[in-house]
């Protein structure tokens, strides 16, 4: 089958297999992406992040339904951490989106972080492109906001929403440094629980202190996702932010930055795979190590030599 043609013709199987090729780093992935690239750039990408237990999946589910009611098609990429011990993962976000499964206008894909160093953001970005080329109007990328690679994933979004819940105690201080900076819109979920007002006040204070976002003061919306309360208001804020970055040229800037990052990552990845293929797997690395350990050579000279060889090719 011609996977690209099928994908562009609306085959969900082709889309699904494409994302697998991206995830598993199959060789054909880069040629598929090359062919899909001209068909991308139309979708609005929303990043959704927040601490574990904040109700991100439920929120994603409700937002997706809201966008469906507006007549938009939706793609969802839900990222869950891979166990560092076994390499396996339980990808449990889908359970909160079961009612979307049979909606023809929705495609949900769960991904494990698979412990890749930085490669994950590159893979999710490509999966987003596949969904974009498939024709999805809105694409959600949902991930736990705990590590740098997760933050990188949502940085690739047009608009980033941070979901928080009351009762996290001092965690808000810890979170401040990381994901607060990337939030364009904040949602306080489980707003009927104690401490929601306090959390809102604290957030307001922090956001007011943040001088970098002068032209867009991130708004805060209280939500009870499980009951759908506040979801329409949240969509309005998300749309408002999207319109704002469109009007101020920030969207173009973000996408420019994103392309730049992707280009650099792609370059790094391809150098990385050259190294793996020609140096690690051939056993040359071991020989080099031996040389270093037995003081016949030093790391700096070796890197210099290897780089020269690579550049000559």
């Amino acid at each position: 089958m011609d996977i690209v043609k099928d994908l562009l013709n609306g085959s969900k199987l082709a889309l699904s297999r494409t994302i697998t090729a991206i995830e598993n780093e199959y060789e054909e992935a880069s040629s598929i992406m090359r062919e899909l690239y001209p068909h991308t750039g139309h979708a609005f990408v929303l990043g959704i992040t927040g601490p574990p237990g904040a109700g991100k999946s439920t929120m994603t589910d409700k937002l997706a339904r809201a966008y469906r009611n507006m007549g938009k098609t939706v793609g969802i990429i839900a990222v869950d951490p891979t166990s560092p011990f076994s390499g396996g993962a339980i990808l449990g976000d889908r359970i909160r989106m079961n009612s979307l499964t049979l909606d023809e206008g929705v495609f949900i894909r769960s991904m494990g972080t698979r412990g890749s160093l930085g490669g994950l953001s590159h893979k999710t970005a490509d999966a987003v492109k596949a969904l974009d080329a498939f024709g999805k109007d809105v694409i959600f990328v949902e991930t736990v906001g705990v590590g740098q690679s997760e933050v990188d994933i949502v940085k690739a979004a047009d608009t980033t929403m941070v979901v928080l819940i009351p009762g996290m105690g001092d965690d808000i201080q810890a979170i401040k440094a990381g994901i607060l900076e990337i939030g364009d819109v904040f949602a306080i979920n489980k707003a009927d629980h104690d401490g929601a007002d306090k959390l809102q006040a604290e957030l307001n204070m922090m956001l007011d202190l943040d001088g970098e976002k002068l032209d867009w003061r991130p708004p805060i919306q209280k939500v009870i996702a499980s009951q759908g309360e506040g979801i329409n208001e949240l969509v309005a804020l998300i749309e408002k932010h999207y319109a704002h970055i469109g009007a101020t040229g920030k969207l173009a800037q973000r996408r420019h930055d994103r392309t730049k990052t992707e280009l650099l990552e792609l370059l790094k990845a391809s150098i990385g795979s050259y190294i793996t293929k020609n140096i690690v797997k051939t056993g040359r690395l071991d020989n080099c190590l031996k040389d270093i350990e037995e003081h016949r050579n030093d790391p700096y000279t070796i890197v210099h030599q290897l780089m020269n060889e690579l550049l000559k090719q």
Binding site: G88, N98, T101, R114
Partner: protein, 131 residues
Amino acid sequence: MMEKRIRVLVAKPGLDGHDRGAKVVARALRDAGFEVIYTGLRQTPEQIAEAALQEDVNVVAMSILSGAHPHLFPKVVELVHEKGMKDVLIVGGGVIPESDIPALKKAGIAEVFTPGTSTGDIVDFIKAHVK
């Protein structure tokens, strides 16, 4: 082919709420290095097949304790195949009398795991038969 993982959809078709087995198996598969998509209770065959498609899983593992397996297991096989996913390994487990197993296998269920099966056996079966 650096980062391939065996992806398994663990699902409970039908209406029974006994998910101890499904959850234990899900965890055991994770601990064996698989990526497990757990979709929870009360899944219709249509939902299971569609989720299998979107997640591009290698394996669909179902558990039923209510006796509805003769109806629901073959239905899932049929729908998964209809979606063009012919190479998916589909297995089932639960309270299933021995005498029902031949018909289920004929319908495309690769293996049926009855009470007392160790999770290690399930892992081994999947590793040996996954395409």
